[in-house]
């Protein structure tokens, strides 16, 4: 029986669809298991998507700039730059619904939906100032102080010692910077004195005493020479030899902008000629050294590579600090508060209710247009909704994707765009029926033509979504994600559900005999006029779809029929005759 082949294929597709649904439920359950243990799998909140700032509220962190004594307050430009860097940093951790803005003339406000994790708060609080400074002197640090008196020396202890260099330093590595007072302070310095309060606001024009991030060594550093703002990119990668093979060693690659390139070339030219501690430079983040590499070469192309005992994780962390750490000003957290939703439950309910009413109207309209065929549309939409829901759920759990009211509205609108695939497909089948094909062949031929159109148009939508997702930030990124998901889901549903279901129902007498409520009644579609259609030769019915010759024959039939109805005088029925078209 020739009938079984499309049905077999249909069943296979439907099984695949079930597999996809099963996998989606599975990954969600698995993620819940990893995050919250076995209990979390049945917990209600696991199966509800996370909501955005406007619907759920969240946490608001107000950051206040830390300004060194004598320095002027940050300019509006600096503040805007800081906002943009913090936004990038927050987006790197996957929270696209976070809002960041300035408040008053000084503060930056970060609003995060829900209850953010400590690591998220840290990534914002680590709003750091990054500098490159030459090392002047280094010593093993004593974290626990020896003797109680010298444990926390106050600056006044050394105030009698001269603080101005005896000779004017000629460059940032000049040891003339180490005045007797600085040397005394350095000797008494312990790493627990390194706090954001003390060092973040350090004057970039003066030397600085600080420790590395493990508090193993303390350093005297020269004035800042290259600012972190001049890093245009930083990434972690494996070191490759000149032959292009990997050494398996992790490194951090920095790319400077033109200003940074020339400044860094000056620094390395000088340091490369020096030895010992003076050969080192320190990368200082908020006054604490995150890395103090030695200089092996003069770097003039602005693309230094830092190697050492990095693991992939530590290399990546340093690269991120270099890339996103370069704020023009330092901040401290002024307040950290929970905030309520601005829209709240009534808005969400009203939106969902309105969407539901819209959906019922869609169902009614489909029933009018496609009779019982509409049930396929409705079930396809239900399947699409289920897949979209599960995907958003998973992304919410894993990547912190949240739904704002705008994205929920976008999802409701996607119903129309998804339903279009079915409409394109059904109309193609009807066109084939009009040409006198039996339903089974009409379904296959209509599918061949429809899928081309669906693929082309979905490709446009997906392209839009992909590019906006990569380039854009903030709300736009969230929108792009929903658009991309709904487009992909549309393709999955139309190929794995709508088409197989039609293949199956094409075998039902109700449909292939063209019951008048089937939506596929050839009589209603005008195919009956050509009595010979039912007896069409198999060669013609099975002719390759889209073949130009076959299409020409079809058009001839259509035209002949039209000519029949129009009367004998008009052989060209589509000849532009506007009055005729509008009157009839």
């Amino acid at each position: 029986m020739a009938k079984t082949t499309p049905v077999k294929r249909a069943v296979r597709s439907l099984v695949w669809l079930l597999v996809i649904l099963g996998v989606l439920v599975g990954v969600n359950a698995l993620q819940a298991l990893i995050d919250g243990g076995p209990k979390a799998i049945i917990a209600g909140q696991t199966w509800v998507p996370k909501l955005g700032l406007d619907l759920e509220g969240g946490t608001e962190i107000i950051l206040q700039p830390v300004v060194a004594k004598g320095q002027s307050a940050p300019t509006a430009d600096q503040l805007n730059q800081a906002v943009s860097i913090i936004r990038e940093r927050v987006n790197a951790s996957g929270l696209s619904e976070t809002e960041i803005s300035t408040q008053g003339s000084q503060n930056v406000v970060v609003s995060i939906p829900g209850v953010p994790s400590q690591s998220t708060i840290n990534s914002i609080e680590e709003s750091a100032k990054l500098e490159f400074r030459a090392v002047l002197e280094t010593d093993a640090a004593s974290t626990s102080s020896v003797g109680s008196a010298s444990a926390t020396p106050s600056a006044s202890d050394f105030s009698t010692l001269p603080a101005t260099p005896s000779t004017k330093p000629t460059n940032a590595s000049d040891l003339a910077y180490v005045t007797p007072r600085l040397a005394a302070e350095f000797a008494a310095f312990t790493c627990d004195q390194v706090t954001t309060e003390n060092t973040a606001a350090a004057d970039p024009k003066k030397p600085l005493i600080t420790c590395d991030d493990t508090s193993t060594y303390k350093y005297i550093l020269g004035p800042a020479e290259v600012s972190g703002e001049d890093i245009s990119d930083a990434n972690a990668g494996l070191v490759t030899t000149s032959q292009g093979t990997s050494t398996g060693q992790w490194a951090v690659n920095i790319i400077f902008n033109s200003k940074g390139t020339s400044e860094f070339a000056t620094v390395t030219t000088r340091l490369n000629a020096l030895t010992g501690a003076l050969n080192q430079f320190a990368i200082v983040l908020d006054g604490r050294i995150i890395s103090a590499p030695t200089t092996n070469a003069v770097i003039t192309d602005g693309k230094p590579q830092i190697t050492g005992s990095f693991t992939q994780t530590t290399a990546q962390a340093l690269a991120n600090q270099l890339k996103y750490g370069s704020l023009p000003i330092s901040f401290k957290v002024q307040s950290n508060n929970t905030i309520t939703a601005t829209l709240g439950a009534t808005q969400l309910q009203a939106g969902l209710l309105a969407g539901l009413i819209g959906l019922i109207l869609v169902v009614l309209y489909s029933l009018l247009q496609y009779r019982s065929l509409a049930s396929i549309t409705i079930f396809s939409l239900v399947v699409a909704a289920a897949i979209t829901y599960l995907v958003l759920l998973f992304l919410g759990q894993r990547n912190g994707v949240r739904l704002s009211l705008a994205s929920i509205a976008g999802l409701i609108v996607a119903i129309g765009i998804t339903a279009d695939s079915f409409i394109v497909y059904f109309e193609r089948i009807r066109d084939e029926l009009r040409d006198g094909r039996p339903l089974e062949t009409a379904v296959e031929a209509g599918w061949g033509r429809a899928i081309r159109t669906i693929l082309a148009s979905d490709a446009v939508n997906f392209l839009a979504a992909a590019i906006l997702y990569i380039v854009a930030v903030g709300n736009v990124k969230g929108f792009a994600l929903t658009l991309g998901i709904t487009t992909l889901v549309d393709l999955v549903v139309v190929t794995l559900f709508t088409h197989p279901m039609l293949q199956v129902i094409a075998q039902r007498p109700f449909f292939y005999e063209g019951h008048r409520f089937s939506g596929l009644d050839p009589k209603a579609l005008g195919a009956i006029y050509r009595g010979r259609a039912q007896f069409r030769t198999p060669a013609l019915a099975g002719a390759k779809k889209g073949a130009a010759g076959e299409a020409a024959r079809r058009q001839t039939i259509a035209e002949r029929k039209a000519a029949e109805l129009n009367g004998p005088t008009k052989p060209g029925p589509t000849k532009p005759t506007p009055t005729k078209g509008k009157d009839s």
Partner: protein, 339 residues
């Protein structure tokens, strides 16, 4: 609904045909007038009205408030400045924060007074400050970069798929038409543009191209299958394709617009203005304009772009000549076929 199926049949066979390509000038004039109205209308208002998310605004924070109702706070501010849409948030345990459009100093003082009175607190407990834009220039810049990249790539992709750049050009002109009219309605009626509305515009960007590609795919099919020996002119082939997809266009736009209309009208009755209205208004206008522009702007434009080509000229000439002779000589043959 038999009559609607009949309508579809007639469009498919060509019995009923709307001569859209032939009467293109009328539609272009209609669109030109629409564009002119929205552009002049927007200009008369001095450009678009952007929401506080773009421009920043004023913020009032009442510390240690006893009444934490968001509606109460909103109404208090609206009583003083009726034109603004206050956004109310409860911060921490008992602080009420209200954000509004940028107010004048006089208005700010009035609002502070009203709030202090309404909440029965000292004026010093009502902090007033300026709040910056959450949708900063950097977001706009990134979004525009993305748009430009998308338009370039989509133009190339469509040119490759349809094997002619003229379809890309026609589709992009229709897209510009749709976006200008959709955004222009906001400018004309001076409706505030919020991030939700911008997301609505972006959705229309996708929808407009999507709709055009569906119809263009049928045009491509018809014009290539008709070939050089067709009895139809190129314009007639395009017109037939538009007519054959007309039922699809109507069904799709109705199905797309119903949920949007649901949100727009039902939401408006239940809630009044808000995020839902901002996005659904853009979509409501955009879907209608996109469907219109695909049929009445993009398809005729494409036919016009191609009409200058030698091959098309030759084909049209042959088709018209064949028609002349068939009217004169072979009409007899058509009569028996009809009987």
């Amino acid at each position: 609904m038999a009559s609607f199926s009949q309508f579809g049949n007639d469009l498919y066979t060509g019995k009923r045909s709307y001569n859209i390509v032939g009467s293109r000038r009328i539609w272009w004039i209609v669109s030109g007038v629409l564009l002119l109205i929205v552009i002049v209308g927007t200009a008369l208002h001095g450009g678009f009205a952007f929401g506080i998310e773009f421009r920043g605004g004023s913020q009032f924070q009442i510390s240690a408030a006893k009444n934490l109702s968001q509606t109460f706070a909103g109404n208090t501010v609206k009583a003083v400045v009726p034109s603004t849409q206050p956004v109310v948030t409860i911060v921490g345990a008992n602080d009420v924060r209200i954000q509004t459009d940028q107010l004048t100093t006089k208005q700010s003082v009035a609002v502070t007074d009203a709030l202090a009175k309404a909440y029965n607190v000292k004026q010093t407990q009502v902090a007033n400050s300026f709040i910056g834009a959450t949708w900063g220039a950097d977001i706009t810049r990134q979004a525009i970069t993305g748009l430009v990249a998308f338009l370039v790539l989509v133009a190339i992709a469509m040119s490759l798929y349809f094997r002619t750049w003229k379809m890309s050009a026609a589709a992009l002109i229709a897209l510009a038409h749709d976006l200008i009219i959709t955004a222009g309605v906001y400018g004309l009626l001076h409706i505030e543009i919020t991030p939700a509305a911008v997301i609505g515009f972006l959705t229309i960007l996708g929808y407009s191209l999507y709709d055009t590609v569906v119809v263009f795919d049928k045009i491509r099919e018809n014009t290539s299958e008709d070939g050089d020996q067709s009895r139809r002119t190129f314009g007639e082939s395009v017109n037939l394709a538009v007519n054959q997809t007309l039922v699809r266009s109507i069904n799709t736009s109705v199905v797309a617009i119903l949920p949007v209309a649901g949100i727009l009208f039902i939401g408006a009755i239940l809630l009044g203005a808000g995020t839902l209205q901002d996005i659904s208004l853009a979509l409501f206008i955009g879907i209608i304009v996109s469907t219109y522009s695909t049929i009445f702007i993009a398809a005729p434009l494409y036919a016009t772009f191609r009409s200058g080509e030698d091959r098309i000229k030759k084909r049209d000439k042959r088709a018209l000549a064949a028609r002349e002779s068939s009217v004169a000589g072979t009409s007899v043959a058509a009569v028996p076929a009809a009987k």
